[in-house]
C-alpha cells in the first residue's frame, strides 16, 4: 500500500499511530514479535497489518501532480 492504514482492516482498531515506532525498532534489529507485543497489538488481524505492509509513498513523493 502507498501509506500505512489508519485502522486495522478487520477489527477497526487504531494502528496508524504505532507504525513509525514499529519500523524504527525493527530497523534497530529487534524482532517484529517483540515490538508488536510491546505495542499491545494482540490480535493477528492487526499484527498482519504491520508485518505485511510495504510503504510505497517514498517512491512517489518526489513527483508532484500538476494542479
Amino acid at each position: 500500500m502507498v501509506i500505512f492504514p489508519v485502522r486495522c482492516f478487520t477489527c477497526g482498531s487504531v494502528i496508524g499511530d504505532k507504525w513509525e515506532y514499529f519500523v524504527n525498532e525493527v530497523k534497530k534489529g529487534r524482532s517484529m514479535k517483540e515490538v508488536l507485543d510491546e505495542l499491545g497489538i494482540k490480535r493477528y488481524c492487526c499484527r498482519r497489518m504491520f508485518i505485511s505492509h510495504v510503504d510505497l509513498i517514498d517512491e512517489l513523493v518526489r513527483y508532484s501532480r500538476k494542479v
Binding site: V14, Y63, S64
Partner: protein
C-alpha cells in the same frame, strides 16, 4: 429478573471487561450491539479541500481523516443528534458540526509527514484527534495541503468510523467437570490444552477455568471419559475495547441507556396498539 451481579475484571484506558451474573444473554447481546452500532461519537464527515498537491488524492485523505477517532466525551452532550442534522449546512451550524483545519507545506528539499496532531480544532477545542501521531500524508518537496474538515455526531450503523468500540464481545465462562473416580492422572489433557487451563498438582487434576477457551480438546483426548467441559449457565463476560473516542466505561453506560430507551419506545408503541384495539 432476579438477583444479578456485575464485577469488573479488567479496566484500563482502552478496554473494560465485565463479568455479569444473572443477566440474560439476550440483554447482554443487545448491549454489545448497541456499543458497536448505536452509541454516537464525533467523526469527520465532510472535507473541503482548498489545496492539495500531495501524491494522495483528495478522497484518500478525506477517508483517512474520517477514520481518525475524535475525542467525544464532552461532545455527546453538546452536539445535536445525527437525525436533527440531516439538512444542516456544515459551515453554518455550531450545534451540529465541529470545524477542524489542516494546513501544511514543504520547502524545496523537504520531505515531511503530516500527522493527525496537525489537524487543529477551530470551533471546539474539545473535539480533537484522540491520537496525535497517526500519519495522514507524506509531503514531498514543494507540496502543500490545506483543508477544512467538518465533524459531526454519527452512529456505527451509518459508517463504522463513528463506532466507539473496536471490539465488543460477549463470551461464555468455562465450566470444567472432572470425575475424580474415573481420572487416572495420565496427563494427556494437560498436554493437549492450548491455554494451560489444566495441571496435575500433587495427586489431583487442577483446573483453571478462567483460562479455558472451551475448545474441548481435553474431552476428546481423555481415555477414561473423566473430563467434561461446558459453560456456566448464568455467567457471561462483556469485553469492550474503545477506539479512543469515548472512555470504555462510558460506552457501556451509553449503550445501556440506548437499549433502555429502545425498550421504552417499544412499550409505548405496543400500548398505543392495544388501546386502539380495545376501542375499535
Amino acid at each position: 429478573m432476579g438477583k444479578f451481579a456485575v464485577e469488573v475484571i479488567e479496566k484500563d484506558e482502552k478496554t473494560v471487561k465485565l463479568k455479569f451474573k444473572g443477566v440474560p444473554l439476550q440483554i447482554l447481546n443487545a448491549l454489545r450491539r448497541a456499543a458497536l452500532e448505536y452509541v454516537p461519537t464525533m467523526a469527520v464527515d465532510l472535507v473541503v479541500f482548498r489545496d492539495n498537491t500531495s501524491v494522495l488524492h483528495d478522497e484518500i485523505i478525506a477517508h483517512r481523516l474520517g477514520l481518525i477517532p475524535l475525542k467525544s466525551d464532552e461532545a455527546l452532550n453538546k452536539y445535536k443528534s445525527p437525525e436533527e442534522c440531516v439538512d444542516v449546512k456544515p459551515e453554518e451550524s455550531l450545534d451540529c458540526y465541529a470545524h477542524l483545519t489542516l494546513e501544511a507545506s514543504t520547502g524545496p528539499d523537504e520531505v515531511k509527514d503530516i500527522y493527525s496532531g496537525d489537524l487543529k480544532p477551530v470551533t471546539d477545542p474539545k473535539v480533537r484527534p484522540a491520537y496525535d501521531r497517526i500519519p495522514i500524508v507524506r509531503l514531498g518537496p514543494r507540496q502543500s495541503i490545506a483543508l477544512d474538515a467538518y465533524a459531526r455526531l454519527g452512529r456505527g450503523v451509518e459508517h463504522i468510523k463513528w463506532s466507539p468500540a473496536t471490539i465488543s464481545t460477549v463470551t461464555y465462562l468455562a465450566q470444567i467437570n472432572v470425575d475424580v473416580s474415573k481420572c487416572n492422572l495420565c496427563g494427556k489433557c494437560v498436554e493437549v490444552c492450548p491455554r494451560e487451563a489444566l495441571a496435575i498438582e500433587g495427586n489431583v487434576l487442577k483446573t483453571y477455568e478462567d483460562r479455558c477457551i472451551i475448545c474441548r480438546q481435553c474431552v476428546r483426548v481423555c481415555p477414561t471419559e473423566a473430563i467434561d467441559v461446558t459453560h456456566k449457565e448464568d455467567e457471561y463476560i462483556l469485553t469492550i475495547e474503545s477506539s479512543g473516542a469515548l472512555r470504555p466505561e462510558r460506552i457501556v453506560f451509553e449503550a445501556l441507556k440506548i437499549v433502555a430507551s429502545k425498550l421504552d419506545m417499544l412499550l409505548s408503541r405496543l400500548e398505543l396498539i392495544v388501546k386502539a384495539e380495545v376501542r375499535g
